[in-house]
Symmetry: C2
Subunit: 96 residues, 2 copies
DNA sequence: ATTGTTTGGTTTATATTATAAACTACTTTA
DNA sequence: TAAAGTAGTTTATAATATAAACCAAACAAT
């Protein structure tokens, strides 16, 4: 009856990150950190997990002399997010 | 921007249990076990957590000679579920 | 020019959580 | 009455999340 929820997305911080990235072309590490309220360490770990899964890309560039980590959602990431939302619907609308 | 998600509800099994209980007056342990596909041990632990939080009641009765554990959602549980769904919405509809 | 401070992270240790294996107790069936 | 099934609980372990500690470069002050 209840299909399993993608454990990679069923995590508050990773879900917030994906949610943020869906709306934008790309986002910088400090911006994501600020928007999610996460600590840098936690965010670093969770971005790694999403990148390893192929849900996002993490590009290390420079902004002038300073390092700049740019994150973007991948097509697979978008697909996984949509599937997650669809699956979750069965948990949230019990009457339907 | 992202409000915290009730950690008690942001768990696959506990969310499934709550979802089940919303539709019914009460449900027996074996029924919940079957519907969620959980192991008895895991279910027992998670029901305890929901009961401790006051989200459900767990009543130990008998059905003839056999023990029968009946679970029901409480008004606080229903409220918490609704709040959770509302909060989650911000994570799921990033464009809105 | 060296010292301290900020920025931008990563690594790692710890706390929390989920999960299943092992166990208990009682009932039914052979 | 022995074996098997039902209905769970307890407990040990695996997985996960999280923050503390750390690192490196850049910038600012003395």
């Amino acid at each position: 009856m209840f299909k399993p929820l993608d454990p990679l997305l069923h995590s508050e911080l990773r879900l917030a990150v994906m949610s943020l990235l869906i709306g934008t072309e790309s986002a910088e590490f400090p911006y994501i950190k600020e928007q999610t309220g996460a600590t840098a360490g936690n965010l670093s770990v969770q971005l790694d997990k999403l990148a390893t899964a192929g849900y996002i890309t993490v590009e290390k560039t420079f902004k002038g002399k300073r390092p700049c980590t740019l994150c973007s959602i991948t097509p697979e990431g978008l697909k996984a997010f949509e599937t997650y939302v669809e699956t979750l619907r069965d948990y949230l609308n019990p009457t339907q």
